[in-house]
């Protein structure tokens, strides 16, 4: 189950990443090419996933949309992880007052419910790819900070860290060279789930019309466009929805499997949650 999970997850993700990267080569049409007279056409041999209300090729738009969705997901996760590691390792390593202050900050960040802040920020800042990345990253780092801090609190009393400190190494070196490499594993697990979350969050914003703006293709935006044609053109709902779901399932599978194999030795029967 573990291995198949990683295998399936990775294959889907690699496929999607490659198809987004090589979208200009793979896409049979331009994602902006209009054919109003063929609007809402069902899948056919010339348009394998059909056409949207403006007659644009759905397959091409999915490929190009992947660039935005996956790109935003990667950017948000990388920024969140970096801030999280910075704040979490400072709090965990120094402890005491520094720790209390930073962790209260994390509490406040985490007490803003999910995507709400991102919605408001995207609305205030104006919808652009950069603003979406900023809005989602501001929310995303709290969880990572907490995980890293917890790990470091445990690890910092280990002998090798005491030895490194006793040798007179500066704190930055101890943290970067000795602590982080030993506590990074759970962050990688969180990051896998975080990617899925970020991609859904971006798609939610675009679905609400506050994310990626038309005519730029994005998976959430494509779903949003399909709202009025649920009966007439169900493929417009199915295709982008399935794509988003495939990505999220893959990241969740990956996260689950990584977590199971990382913690299998320690927690005994601890199961994926």
């Amino acid at each position: 189950m573990k291995r198949t999970g990683v295998l399936i997850g990775c294959s889907i993700l690699i496929l999607l990443v490659l198809s987004a990267m090589f979208a200009p080569i793979l896409a049979p049409y331009s994602p902006f090419e209009l054919h109003l007279e063929q609007g809402l056409s069902a899948p056919s041999s010339s348009h394998i996933l059909g056409q949207d209300k403006l007659g644009r090729d759905v397959f091409s738009r999915i490929l190009y949309g992947g660039r935005v969705s996956l790109g935003v997901g990667v950017a948000v996760t990388m920024i969140s992880v970096s801030i999280g590691i910075l704040v979490g390792s400072i709090a965990g390593f120094f402890g005491g007052k520094v720790d209390s202050v930073l962790m209260r900050l994390v509490d406040i960040v985490l007490s803003f419910p999910g995507i709400l802040l991102a919605i408001v920020m995207a609305a205030i800042l104006g919808p652009s790819v950069l603003n979406i990345v900023i809005a989602l990253s501001i929310l995303g780092w709290g969880g990572f900070a907490r995980v890293i801090r917890g790990q470091i609190l445990v690890a910092r009393s280990e002998d090798y860290i005491l030895a490194a400190t006793a040798l007179g190494l500066p704190p930055t070196r101890v943290i970067l060279r000795h602590l982080l490499p030993n506590v990074i594993a759970p962050v990688i697990v969180e990051a896998a789930f975080g990617m899925g979350h970020a991609i859904v969050a971006e798609a939610s914003l675009s679905f609400l019309g506050l994310g990626i703006q038309p005519p730029m293709p994005s998976w959430g935006g494509m779903l949003s466009d399909s709202k009025s044609f649920l009966m007439l053109a169900p493929h417009l709902v199915t295709v982008p929805g399935l794509t988003i779901m495939a990505v999220v399932v893959s990241f969740n599978l990956l996260g689950d499997s990584l977590r199971d194999s990382l913690f299998a030795g320690r927690g005994g029967k601890r199961q994926s949650q």
């Binding site: 506050l210 929805g241 994926s272």
Partner: protein
């Protein structure tokens, strides 16, 4: 216990203040003239003046912040531009719909998750366990803005069983609550399963079996009760997800609650109302986590500050 409750109650105030401060600075630290940013340059001058006055924009920021916190403490959230009514009144009129929807979703989530999770754990490793686990993976991963339209296509448009949108009668709750509840249900299922599996190997379960208690009693009294404790915590955390999920679900189903109000307030650039909606959702979330902590302390006597 009383001491714990008291301290926990007190802790709400700094968090609420933190959230309110966050919302205030979010809206005030935008570069450029906030009036232009909020209303657009073509806004009516009456609206501009009203907003300038509500936000006390001609005063220093510290003073503005003071005004904001003081009027918030008195329940004064300003006037909504688009509705021409006090923000608080608008919020109160929409609040029940969202809470009802969230509770219905919660009900669906729990009734699906707890029995299935228990069943799955008791048949650990079997085919049905694997199947339930796989379904829960799909349930966690399905975005509600996709599940909603799919349910509409199937149950409303194809089968014509349930209303497409609106909030009239019990039937109109089914699809929105399902859309909102499925993700949470999948998470709760996994927690239930994991926590039953965790407990099933404990000595007190062995003792209960060894003294010859019928399996039914072992499961209901010894296993199930203890397995519920982690569930309560997750319930609280997930309730926040329900509230924000409601923003999308309400938009899909034209549900007249806070979520759709937030989105329409954003579109009409009715910032006092946006601010009110954000505060209402964030405060509800804080209150729910308070409630959960209290429940938790009552369910598990070991929990203390």
């Amino acid at each position: 216990m009383a001491r714990y409750l008291f301290l926990r109650l007190l802790s709400v105030f700094p968090l609420a203040l933190g959230v309110a401060t966050g919302v205030f600075f979010l809206i005030h630290l935008i570069p450029g003239d906030p009036i232009d940013m909020m209303l657009g340059e073509s806004a009516a001058s009456a609206d501009r003046a009203a907003l300038r006055e509500t936000l006390h924009l001609d005063e220093p920021i510290v003073k503005q912040y003071g005004h904001f916190i003081l009027s918030l403490a008195q329940g004064d959230l300003g006037q909504s531009f688009s509705m021409k009514k006090p923000v608080l009144d608008v919020l109160l009129s929409r609040y029940p719909a969202t809470i009802q929807l969230a509770l219905a979703a919660l009900l669906i989530a729990i009734t699906l998750a707890v029995p299935l999770g228990l069943f799955s754990a008791l048949r650990h490793g079997s085919f049905s366990d694997q199947f339930i686990l796989l379904s829960s993976l799909l349930g966690v991963s399905i975005p509600n803005f996709w599940l909603g339209p799919l349910l509409i296509i199937f149950f409303s448009l194809k089968l014509n069983l349930l209303p497409v949108s609106g909030r009239e009668g019990l039937l109109s709750f089914v699809l929105p609550a399902l859309t909102l509840g499925v993700g949470m249900s999948a998470i709760l299922l996994r927690i239930t399963r994991a926590s039953v599996l965790d407990i099933i190997g404990k000595e007190y379960i062995l003792t209960a079996r060894a003294k010859g208690l019928p399996e039914r009693i072992v499961i209901t009294k010894h296993l199930f009760r203890n397995a519920l404790i982690p569930l309560i915590t997750v319930l609280g955390l997930q309730f926040g997800a329900l509230l924000t999920g409601a923003i999308i679900t309400e938009t899909i189903f034209s549900w007249p609650g806070l979520g759709r109000l937030t989105i329409s307030a954003i579109y009409t650039r009715d910032y006092p109302l946006v601010q009110g909606c954000v505060l209402a959702i964030a405060f509800t979330y804080l209150l729910v986590s308070l409630l959960v902590d209290i429940l938790y302390a009552m369910a598990d006597p070991r929990v203390r500050y």
